[in-house]
């Protein structure tokens, strides 16, 4: 049974009530702005004493009329105003007649009323009311023939000037419009219109600051001020929008000003929905109301499409999930077609990549995208190839290893990166090469994949293929050269490297590799006494070297020293002496060069009869008072040999001890912080912690806030037990980071950051273990992952320790192996 609505009967005044009661009620109603009620009581009171209560009755009518105007009930207001005439009211009646006409949009009638009122002038107290009357004269846009007095003539003349100026603006006659405005003085009641027109001219002349300045001076209650708001919104950019974003009327008018009337009814609502976080509704609203949205074609619709389909990448996770779900459902339900489906599939594909979705799912979306792209735009092999390479790169990305949970459980982990999905990466690259067999990026990415996965034979095959396809590619030639050196195919390697060096003579990396290749090949010839061959090769090495360099590979002095050694191997003493003389002329750092010559001779096994004199000189250099400069030179030389020798003979270990002893002796004397840093690095490379400590302690005595030594001390104290670093220690590390930042030591900053990252990662894994009892249900997946990491690490360690299952060590063509010069 439906509910019957009870109609509330309106209570009128009690006709028998005493005057005092009616007076009280009328007064209360007037005060509470309940004009209708007040009018009824006052009507009753007027019946009893018209003369006394008529002014209050008129005031109630006026109040009621204004209330109705404000509520937009113009015809009701007009009736009330007519009733005022019957009551013989003068006062506000004229104003009310004006405002009713104005609000009803009858600007000619409003202008006539305004002109009459302005002539009288006395009854207008509010400045806002006056402004509105002058505005109505402009807005009438008619030749008003009602002027009777000079004052009225003058007012109308100025209003017409403003109208004429506006007309000239619409015709882009800006200079003439400005001339027209000269008739309107600054003290004129139309001066705000003058400002408005000036603002408009500046706006359309792209003089934005000028326009803003003019618009901002407009009086708040005037029509030009209202009309300027959309312009200000468009001029104010993001800040402007912030100010007006809740004003749908201004947003709508801004669309009009921006010559996009079609968006007037759509964009303000879309903006509101977006602002309150109803992203899907906003999209749906725009899609429903703008024809051709979304679109790939140029223009604002394309801009909006771009926004709506890329905004998801800036959303919070939960909002993004819902938004993608919404887009996905539209596609799944077949509601999308053409460009929209294409654009949505692209967005979903990218989003799935970002959230780390299953590989087949990502692949599936992109396959669908390509299929649909073909339908919409036809065959585009470049685009297909690009998507394939993109997916290949995505699947061949290196997986970040979690640090072992129990770092003390075993030795170092494998340095080879783990590829995310080798099979799919290979599939994508192969597909790309099927589409475009000469796709350079795909060839190189495939090469990188083989390098990551250590597939040596495939690397070599691919390099040969790439060189054939792209003979002018320096990087390929360089890589191929290194591969050949690694395979001891020196002549072929030299060909590639020389070719690469000629393509870019400034690339020191290529030149160094070429020199190394020459030295290695020369050594082979020297051992077989093929004098001409090794001399030719070393001449070539000199050609690509640098005469004034201190580099052990590139510097001419060091190349001469090697050459002299090869001559001594073949007993060509005179030639060797001549070469050493040349080398000595270039060798600027005597102890460094001397020690290099000595070690090179010993490593290349020069007969001892040629080594005795140099040995004595080296011994002399090591004796006596230790100097930090010499210590740095010795450390530099010995480190070079450690780096470039795959196997280290016994006597070399004794040399290392000799250098260490010398550096330890140096610690007792004076040294700078920079020198101490070199020694600490050297000591850490040689895992000689005692030696490192002797410098760290002394350096920290000299400067307790030196971030480098603080960091090294931290590392030595904590070791690799990152899982057990507590909050306090982490805070200390962060303090060291801020010290390093103050010094702008970029290398140190990145080292510290990496350590902090690892410690925090370790902490998050530890937390999962700590909390697993309480959060087992919610965190089940995370825990599984943590356990997987843990088991994986244990298995990896166990496999490493089983000698029978140890894999043969493979050497990738890293710079370390290619620089191996002494085996």
């Amino acid at each position: 049974m439906g509910k019957r609505k009870k109609r509330k009967r309106q209570k009128g005044p009690n006709k028998t009530a005493p005057i005092e009661v009616l007076e009280k009620k009328a007064s209360d109603a007037l005060q509470a702005r309940k004009y209708r009620q007040a009018r009824d009581y006052l009507k009753e009171l007027c019946k009893r004493d018209r003369e006394k209560y008529l002014p209050e009755l008129i005031a109630a009518h006026e109040g009621l009329a204004l209330q109705m105007i404000n509520e937009g009930r113009f015809s009701d207001a007009k009736q009330v105003v007519d009733h005022l005439t019957d009551l013989g009211a003068t006062g506000k009646k004229g104003w009310l007649e004006f405002i009713v006409s104005f609000k009803q949009g009858d600007f000619v009638k409003a202008a006539c009323a305004a002109l009459r009122l302005l002539e009288e002038d006395d009854n207008i107290t509010e400045s806002g009311e006056k402004l509105l009357m002058y505005d109505s004269l402009v807005l009438s846009f008619e030749a008003l023939d009602i002027a009777k007095t000079p004052k009225q003539f003058s007012i109308i003349r100025e209003a017409n000037q403003v109208q004429a100026a506006l007309k000239l603006v619409s015709e882009e006659k800006y200079e003439e419009a400005m001339a027209c405005l000269r008739a309107v003085s600054l003290s004129s009641p139309f001066s705000h219109w003058k400002l408005f027109v000036k603002g408009l001219i500046a706006f359309y002349k792209m003089e934005e600051q000028k326009a803003q300045k003019a618009f901002s001076k407009l009086p708040d209650e005037s029509i030009p001020a209202k009309a300027a708001e959309p312009y200000m919104l468009l001029l104010g950019s993001r800040e402007g929008l912030k100010k007006y974003q809740k004003r749908a009327d201004v947003l709508g008018l801004a669309c009009w000003v921006a010559a996009r009337k079609d968006l007037e009814s759509v964009l303000p609502r879309a903006e509101y929905l977006w602002r309150v976080g109803r992203f899907r509704d906003s999209y749906a609203h725009v899609r429903r109301n703008i024809e051709g949205f979304p679109s790939e074609d140029q223009g604002i619709i394309q801009g909006l499409s771009d926004f709506y389909l890329n905004a998801v990448f800036q959303m919070k996770e939960r909002d993004a999930d819902r938004y993608i779900d919404f887009l996905d459902k539209m596609v799944a339900r077949g509601k999308t077609d053409g460009a929209e489906k294409l654009m949505i599939l692209r967005t979903i594909g990218l989003w799935l990549e970002d959230v780390g979705a299953d590989d087949p799912m990502v692949l599936g979306v992109w396959k669908e995208f390509l299929r649909w792209h073909r339908e919409v735009h036809g065959e585009n092999r470049d685009l297909q190839a690009l998507v394939c390479v993109h997916l290949g790169d995505l699947f061949s990305r290196e997986v970040i290893r979690h640090p072992p949970f129990f770092p003390f459980s075993g030795g170092a982990t494998s340095r080879r990166p783990v590829v995310h999905n080798e099979r799919l990466a290979q599939y994508c690259y192969d597909t790309c090469l099927e589409i475009d067999p000469t796709n350079k990026q795909a060839h190189f990415s495939l090469l990188a994949l083989y390098e990551k996965t250590g597939q040596k034979s495939k690397i070599n095959k691919k390099l040969d293929e790439i060189i054939e396809l792209f003979p002018e590619d320096k990087d390929t030639l360089y890589k191929a050269g290194l591969r050949c050196v690694d395979r001891k195919a020196f002549i072929k390697g030299m060909k590639y490297l020389e070719w690469a060096a000629k393509l870019d003579l400034l690339d020191m990396r290529v030149r160094e590799a070429l020199i190394v290749c020459c030295i290695k090949a020369a050594l082979e010839y020297a051992k077989r006494s093929k004098v001409e061959q090794y001399r030719a090769l070393l001449s070539k090495a000199l050609e690509y070297g640098e005469s004034d360099s201190d580099d052990f590979n590139l510097g001419h002095a060091y190349l001469y020293a090697r050459w002299a050694t090869f001559e001594l191997l073949n007993n060509n003493v005179t030639d060797a002496e001549q070469l050493l003389d040349k080398a000595s002329e270039l060798g600027r750092h005597e102890p460094r060069f001397l020690y290099f010559k000595f070690l090179v001779g010993r490593l290349y096994q020069v007969p001892s009869k040629y080594m005795s004199s140099i040995e004595k000189r080296v011994k002399k250099e090591f004796s006596g008072r230790a100097s930090p400069e010499k210590a740095i030179a010795f450390a530099d030389v010995i480190s070079y040999f450690q780096r470039t020798s795959r196997t280290i003979p016994k006597w070399f270990k004794e040399e290392q001890r000799r250098v260490n002893r010398y550096i330890r002796k140096t610690a007792k004397g004076e040294f700078s912080q920079a020198q101490a840093r070199v020694f600490v690095e050297y000591a850490l490379q040689n895992t000689d912690e005692d030696l490192a400590w002797s410098y760290i302690n002394k350096a920290l005595e000299q400067n307790p806030d030196d971030p480098y030594f603080l960091f090294v001390r931290f590392q030595l104290e904590v070791g690799s037990f990152y899982g057990f670093v507590d909050e306090e220690e982490l805070d200390e590390l962060k303090r060291i980071l801020s010290l390093a930042q103050k010094q702008r030591d970029q290398e140190l900053i990145s080292r510290i950051r990496k350590t902090i990252e690892e410690i925090e990662k370790m902490g998050s894994v530890r937390d999962i273990f700590d909390n697993h009892d309480e959060e087992l249900d919610e965190e089940e997946e995370d825990l599984d992952e943590a356990v997987d990491i843990f088991v994986e690490n244990l298995l990896r360690e166990a496999n490493k320790k089983r000698p029978g299952r140890q894999r043969k060590k493979r050497n990738s063509p890293s710079s370390a192996t290619q620089l191996n010069l002494f085996d």
Binding site: C255, A258, Q298, F307
Partner: protein
Amino acid sequence: MNPFEVLGVGVDADDVSVRKAYLDLVRRYPPEKHPEKFKQITDAYDRLKDKKSRLEYYLFNRETPFRSPFEVLISHFSEADGRRPPNFEEIKEYLRRCAIQ
């Protein structure tokens, strides 16, 4: 801002038309007079100068400089070449609407 929009070329534009659009704009907005606009133009050209980079932008761009749909309109309007006032009747209509609202 979308680089296609900045240069005023379509997604399927070729190298020649992209270069032409770029040079026209650079001539119109020299760096000494319009440093910001010039930077925007050169950035856009860098992103679109060859077919591969155009395709890459079309396929993999995840960025949007806007925070809400209305910003798109504002940006589109401020980037437009020149502004033309509406005709007189439209100005009248506009002002009268402002008065009544």
